[in-house]
């Protein structure tokens, strides 16, 4: 097959000593910054760009790409260990991952995250390899009405994220969307709710909010009780996922891969949305949804697979169309450009070595990452034994450092602290952070897409276009089904009966 031939050529490029070395350096740095909260692949790649000026383009891209997808491996580490999302794409992992750590199951959580990442990453590369041009074209069919319906679909998932009172969960969701309206309205150009602050003109960042609610909020909640020596007092039970864990996670991983890969292709969708969707879907489809939020391993497996699968998906759009679907890809595009290469329709014909070499090195990189990350689990787990009165200042230090490194803006640190207080109060009064953050991410896109679509002049545009129409129907069905639990349960029972 043609593809196989190209792939073999790609491996011949990727397996040179030089490229292997830089692939390793890339994934190593990627893992490191993925673990470190706030410092992300975007900032790092831009810093290392000048270093690559003198290097061969293929080698530079191999290394820089390695940093990017490597970060998706490391991001889950701090989410699980200390409830601080290392990357935006690991925010949702905090929910169940951290709970698992508190129950002494940090090892299995980290393990399944690593394996899920590997499977998601590798599978998405296969998809990239085989389907890139077709998928890219299909992604272009998504215009404003389709984005609106997709976001609406995503928001119906919010109801599935709530464990407690639905009204409270909805308040969080509404609050999240409301907060996301702060800033410049792209459709009319005016600024809303900014009180004249130019920092707020761009709105409230997801990362400061998430690190505030999860990281700082968790610290504040813990130190309020008392400065115990150890917050993680549960006995450590095993370093790796058990067989049962694996069986539980096999479908979440498959679904996570699909979600991540396909959603990662869409420009503007970002890497966060696939993770939230995966979590909500897993919770919805699970036989024991009440376990979610308390340490369900599926809640770690699905999202972590999704965020790695999204890297492959985003590369589809970047490499085939030359359009970066998210911020990480935008900086990778910058790296290409600096080396005089413009990804796009001509990339395959003009620079086949670069395309296939990068793909081959991504396979290699994923293997390297699994090998790197697994032994580290033992070390990470030891970290949890550090006395909390030393650990919590370090956590706060990292949050501080991390948020500042985003935009070099101290006001974002203050925003994070504000959200920390909010997160602390939220926990005290029985509200949840996940619906809030999901709404913060989806809200703006929902609103923009809605208003953009209406500019075309036809209010029924959402129903007249096929993709949009289908998504709306599915959303409607999803919204309705909880109202008929009997029907749903009967169906499940039937399905279960037929399985045995």
């Amino acid at each position: 097959m043609d593809v196989l031939q190209h792939l073999i050529m790609g491996f011949s490029v990727a397996l040179t000593l030089n490229n292997l070395l830089f692939c390793f350096i890339g994934v190593f740095i990627g893992t490191l910054i993925g673990v470190l909260p706030g410092i992300g692949p975007v900032a790092t790649i831009s810093l290392l760009l000048p270093v690559t000026f003198g290097m061969n383009p293929v080698t530079s891209i191999i290394m820089l790409a390695g940093i990017y997808y490597g970060a998706q491996y490391g991001g889950s580490t701090t989410s699980i260990l200390v409830n601080i999302p290392g990357e935006a794409s690991s925010i949702i992992t905090c929910l169940d991952g951290y709970k698992m750590a508190r129950q002494g199951r940090a090892g299995p959580a980290l393990g399944i995250a690593a394996f899920g990442s590997f499977i998601g990453g590798t599978a998405s590369i296969v998809g990239l390899m085989l389907l890139a041009p077709i998928l890219a074209r299909a992604a272009l069919k998504f215009g404003p009405p389709e984005y609106f319906s997709l976001m609406l679909f995503g928001l119906t998932m919010v109801t599935y994220l709530c464990t407690g009172s639905v009204a409270k969960g909805l308040i969080m969701a509404v609050g999240g969307i409301a907060l996301s309206t702060i800033g410049q309205d792209p459709v009319s150009g005016i600024t809303r709710f900014t009180l004249g602050s130019i920092t707020l003109m761009d709105g409230i960042g997801l990362v400061p909010a998430a690190m505030g609610i999860f990281g700082v909020g968790e610290v504040l909640t813990n130190i309020e009780e008392s400065i115990k020596q150890e917050v993680f007092s549960a006995k450590l039970s095993g370093l790796f996922p058990t067989v049962k864990d694996w069986l539980d996670c096999k479908w979440p991983i498959v679904r996570g891969t699909l979600f991540g890969f396909f959603l990662g292709i869409l420009p503007g969708a970002g890497v966060v949305i696939p993770t939230f969707m995966s979590y909500a879907v897993e919770k919805r489809l699970s036989k024991h949804p009440e376990k979610f939020g308390k340490g369900a391993i599926e809640g770690v497996a699905g999202p972590e697979t999704a965020n790695n699968a999204a890297t492959g998906g985003s590369m589809v759009t970047l490499l085939s169309l030359g359009i970066p679907p998210n911020v990480g890809m935008a900086i990778l595009l910058g790296a290409f450009i600096i080396h005089g290469i413009q990804p796009g329709p001509l990339l395959l014909t003009k620079h086949p070595q670069l395309f296939w070499g990068t793909i081959a090195s991504m396979y290699i990189g994923n293997v390297m990452l699994v090998v790197l990350n697994l032994p580290m689990i033992g070390i990470w787990v030891k970290l949890l034994k550090v006395p909390y009165n030393i650990l919590f200042p370090l956590i706060l230090l990292f949050c501080f450092l991390g948020v500042y490194s985003l935009n070099n803006n101290i006001y974002e640190i203050l925003i994070m602290v504000g959200f920390g207080v909010f997160g602390y109060l939220m926990r005290k009064f029985g509200f949840e952070g996940a619906p809030f953050l999901l709404a913060m991410v989806l809200g703006p896109m929902l609103e923009i897409a809605f208003r953009q679509s209406l500019l075309y002049g036809d209010p029924f545009i959402f129903f007249k276009r096929p993709i949009s129409g289908v998504l709306l129907v599915i959303s409607f069905i999803l919204l309705i089904t909880p109202l008929f639990p009997k029907i749903f349960r009967k169906r499940k029972e039937l399905a279960e009966a037929s399985k045995d």
């Binding site: 740095i29 910054i33 470190l36 410092i39 900032a43 790092t44 810093l47 290392l48 009172s165 009204a167 409270k168 909805l170 308040i171 509404v174 609050g175 969307i177 409301a178 309206t181 309205d185 459709v187 009319s188 005016i190 809303r192 709710f193 700082v216 610290v219 504040l220 130190i223 309020e224 009780e225 008392s226 400065i227 009165n389 030393i390 919590f392 200042p393 370090l394 706060l396 230090l397 501080f400 450092l401 500042y404 490194s405 070099n408 101290i410 640190i413 203050l414 602290v417 920390g420 207080v421 602390y424 005290k428 009064f429 029985g430 509200f431 609103e447 809605f450 208003r451 209406l454 209010p459």
Partner: protein, 152 residues
């Protein structure tokens, strides 16, 4: 009556009202041509409705157990407030003082406030963590952290 739900219900009710009033100051437009104020106004109204539901649920449920009383803090809120204050303080002079000094102070203040540690240990941990940041973030990763006016 669940007190904590009463408090949060009232809180969100207030937020909903503020939001609705504030957003009506922007152009609302119509359903087919929404303006910038449209969505926030809708959200504000939703918040009001939802918080009323929460308040109703709170009134309905019987007063049982600890959920009925105010969320307790057992004096720990002082630690929380102190930590928040330290964070705000260090953030305000971060760019002027530079990262080395700020982080050192941050660690010292936080650990000192937590209590229960010899201040030899506090000093050591603060020193090592600051140096660690310097090594990993500045030397290894090359992050441009603020050097402050003392140009450390």
């Amino acid at each position: 009556m669940k007190h904590r739900d009463l408090i949060s219900g009232v809180f969100w009710l207030a937020i909903g009202m503020i939001l609705s009033i504030w957003s009506s100051g922007y152009e609302i437009g119509s359903l087919v041509q929404p303006g910038p104020g449209f969505l926030p106004l809708g959200l504000g109204i939703l918040l009001i409705l939802l918080s009323l539901i929460v308040l109703l649920e709170a009134k309905k449920s019987s007063a049982t157990g600890q959920a009925a009383s105010l969320p307790s803090t057992a004096g720990g809120w002082k630690r929380v407030a102190y930590t928040v204050l330290v964070l705000i303080l260090t953030a305000s002079f971060y760019e002027k003082a530079g990262y080395l000094l700020t982080f050192f102070l941050l660690m010292m203040l936080l650990m000192a406030g937590a209590g229960g540690q010899s201040w030899k240990r506090i000093l050591l941990v603060a020193l090592f963590s600051t140096l660690g940041v310097h090594l990993v973030f500045v030397l290894l990763l090359g992050q441009p952290l603020p050097r402050g006016i003392l140009r450390l």
